[in-house]
Amino acid sequence: MNPIDPRIHRALDGEISREALPPELRRVVERLESAAALLATAPEGGRSVADRVLARLSRHARSPLRRLARWLAAPHPVTLRIRPVWSLALAASLVLLALLPEERSAPVLGEHEGIAQFVARFPGAHSVQVVGSFNDWRTGTIPLEDRDGDGVWRAVVVLPAGAHEYMFVVDDERWVPDYSANRFVEDDFGRENSVLIVRPVKG
């Protein structure tokens, strides 16, 4: 490919006036500009992208499973009406549960599930959450806790076994990868997501 006169590039980049170009170079500039103008015309035909997108978002919003998940995750006032005799039985059951050895109260994991522990150091943060492929990148579902206020935030959750991409969301606005992760992948937004491998407990 033959390089074209550098003055053509400078004119197209707005660094020099095209009136300063000799006529033969000006014709080249005009040819490229007219090609670009043709390409700038709106593509014809096809379905409306807006309709498709909005229909998908609408389905996303109306999905019964998502509504159920959101209802379960949101706080709701619950009123229990109970006879005094049953309340005594309930209290006795709770005492019994509290006295059981700790290992019996551990969550029962499925065959293809494992335990993931997220630990991150964000001194001064007011909130830290983890979002990722396991919760559809939605905030408000897995908060980390810093009980002793030392800036180290933790969460332990049960996740399906396999590879999961994730990031931390600090103070509801900063999306930060977990720099202590062993693997990273670039996402569609030009950021690096951390990758976590969850091994099945009953492997």
Partner: protein
């Protein structure tokens, strides 16, 4: 109604993140035509471009909270679409663009000017299709979407000197391809 009127991008993003799901429609309508034009020129076909843009906008909605600077929503959206287009091209064995689903150049019943314009567009599209995907993307962002090199850097993640060189090479390749077809 001109969708560029009305609330700013940052205001619309804040409304969507605040729970006003319908407000995302403003974003879609505001940028749909530009994103579709960009994807069509890069992928070489309207149907593939529509798929890429629709998928990108759904992803943009789901990840809207991660848009760090809503005042630069436009380049953020173009970046998502550019990456979708790259994935789409990578799935094609050769990376060559197909003009199979390009719109017909013009109906014979159309007037003469429209017919001539359609033929000219077909020639330019064929010439553009001979460029590598990187050069095609660079030329379209610069000369069709009218972006500055800074905006192109935000979209592609490349350095400005790299993009300038790519645009220069794209111009040269396009001129050569146009000359071969004239």
């Amino acid at each position: 109604m001109d969708v560029r009127e009305g609330p700013s991008d940052a205001e619309v993003v804040a409304r969507v993140l605040g729970g006003d799901r319908e407000a995302f429609g403003l974003i879609v309508r505001r940028y749909e035509s530009g994103l579709l034009r960009f994807a069509t020129r890069v992928l070489g076909g309207r149907d593939a471009a529509a798929d890429a843009v629709a998928e990108s906008l759904v992803r943009a909605y789901r990840h809207l909270a991660s848009c760090r600077d809503p005042t630069r929503l436009r380049t953020w959206l173009y970046r998502i679409v550019a990456n979708r287009c790259k994935s789409h091209l990578a799935r094609r064995a050769t990376g060559d663009v197909s003009l199979d689903d390009a719109p017909p150049i013009a109906d014979p019943a159309d007037n003469e000017a429209a017919l001539e314009r359609g033929e000219q567009l077909a020639v330019v599209e064929q010439a553009l299709a001979t460029l590598s995907p990187e050069k095609r993307e660079a030329f379209v962002l610069k000369h069709v979407e009218g972006m500055s090199y800074q905006e192109m850097a935000a979209v592609t993640g490349e350095r400005i000197p790299t993009l300038k060189m790519r645009v220069h090479r794209a111009r040269e390749a396009l001129l050569k391809a146009l000359e071969e077809r004239s």
